[in-house]
């Protein structure tokens, strides 16, 4: 832990993430205005003023307040989607790698499909049918991304099950479930943690992208992707409407990327640079 505190990747990443988490948790206390409150007088108010630090949007809503509340959407989508995908993927990968057979073959074919079908296209197809919404976006992410976790855990399981300590546990009469969960799972979790951290960063970007396209979070809820979609329309007149929400996304994603990079270097010395 002492070493971690000397690593700039860890320190900067952790500070950025903690800052965003604090915004999400204490949003009502931190936001200077009601995020949905439209004030006619403030329409497209310029930033760096006393009332609107980051300016106001086309219908006079305070941008800083909306960014602070928007952290809730981004973090919820990022964390919940990854948690679900990781849970499903780890279980399936563990069973597929341990027992092999049909499930394993099926998993690998699914992985091929998933690799060559971009998420955005898949999300467009599914959301065209089930309609937009935050929980639906999370559902589509979990539905499509668990395969990545399953693939990694499967690979780990395949090599771990041949190792002496696992063989020994089996030989001593441990049940399949005990061998899988107690001996293999814990050792397979290392690469999963790295993938999950970078996955949160990726899913925050994807959610913002889908919301920007009008396929994500409900436009009445303040979200960074939605604010960017608004800002795009006023780019000729008001640079701040699109600039600040984009910075919020970049800072948050950078935080998770830094932490993910740090974890990868720490946990897997081979890829360290």
């Amino acid at each position: 832990m002492r070493r971690a505190l000397h690593d700039p990747s860890f320190v900067i990443g952790a500070v950025l993430i903690l800052g965003v988490v604090a915004c999400a948790v204490f949003a009502p206390a931190l936001a200077p205005h009601e995020p949905g409150l439209a004030t006619l007088r403030s329409r497209l108010a310029t930033p760096f003023s006393a009332t609107h630090v980051l300016g106001a949007d086309a219908i006079g809503r305070d941008i800083l307040s909306r960014i602070i509340f928007g952290a809730r959407v981004s973090l919820t989508v990022g964390v919940v989607s990854v948690a679900l995908a990781m849970l499903i993927g780890t279980l399936i990968g563990l069973v597929a790698g341990y027992f092999g057979g049909l499930l394993d073959t099926l998993l690998m074919r699914l992985a091929d499909i998933q690799l060559s079908f971009p998420f955005i296209l898949l999300a467009i197809t599914v959301i065209a049918v089930i309609g937009p919404g935050m929980w639906k976006v999370i559902f589509v992410m979990a539905l499509t991304q668990w395969v990545q976790y399953a693939r990694i855990v499967r690979g780990q399981t395949l090599s771990l099950k041949e190792r002496e300590f696992v063989q020994a546990a089996s030989g001593l009469g441990a049940s399949h479930a005990r061998v899988m969960f107690q001996h293999i799972l814990l050792n397979a979790l290392t690469p999963v943690t790295v993938l999950a951290t970078l996955g949160i960063a990726n899913n925050i970007l994807l959610e913002a992208g889908l919301t920007f396209l009008g396929l994500g979070v409900d436009p009445t809820i303040p979200s960074w992707g939605g604010m960017l979609a608004d800002g795009r329309n006023y780019i000729e007149r008001a640079w701040w409407v699109a600039t600040f929400p984009g910075l919020a996304i970049t800072v948050t994603v950078l935080g998770f990327n830094l932490l993910g990079d740090w974890l990868r270097d720490r946990l897997d010395p081979r890829t360290s640079t």
Binding site: S116, A208, I235, G246, T250, T273
Partner: protein, 307 residues
Amino acid sequence: MVAFLLRRAIQSLFVLVGITLFVSFTIRLSGDPAVAMFQGASAPTAEQLTTIRARLGTDRPFMEQYLAFLGSLLRGDLGTSFRTGAPVADAVAQRFPATVGLALTSLLVSLVIAIPLGVLAARRRGRPADFVVRVVSLVGLSFPNFWLGIMLILVFGVYLRWLPPSGYEGPASLVLPSLTLGLILASTTTRLVRSALLDVLGEQYVVTARAKGIREHRVVYRHALRTALIPVVTFVGLQIGGLIGGVVIVEQVFAWPGLGSLALNAISFRDYPMLQGTITVLAVFIAAINLVVDTSYALLDPRIRYA
């Protein structure tokens, strides 16, 4: 070699069947297209619905419809748009060059940026230049592509007025969108070129080349980089899918007349044949590129043939 390519081709075929099956099935879940065709008009009678279902073929079982779709797909027929009544294949063919052109230009931009920067970082490992390249690429990796696009429009289109902010008005319009996607793709590729080159620079043959007194520049670019680019080619192949996904979003930012906007318009008009056709064509394109990439690196690296 032939066996390897054959196996890869069969694998791609499986992927395509999987994707088309998924897309057809999902889109069928959206409800009755016969009802959708009457959207906004007066309520259809039961008789009208039956006629339309028979005409569209939606009264037949799903697998039969799917096989019919595959059959027409092989003949280059993607069905008829609900909205315009024109063949989907025509609309897709008209927009396809804009999307693929943007994707390939972005790829080129990313390689032109990433290879020199990756080489620079690897040669100056641990020095300030390396640090700057790594920080910049990590920040670039965290940019939402559509936001970078908006920022480029703001600077070069709105304030400096050097380039057209959006739409398609000749080659100048290609600059901002391809820079947007290229810069973001370059962030990952730079990191990869750097670490691949660092791996190779420690190899025996590089040490030998240096010992023979070959100039460092030549050692890096002629001897080491050639090997280091093999994982980069693989990576670029894997990125094609993601790149196409990025194109779909960035097309909206720049009002680019490509397949992405075609698909999104199809969603808002509930034009399912159009959506299905667009997604299918993109998926086929991505699978084809992946096959080409696999073939090319099997040619580059003889070890892969036995894998």
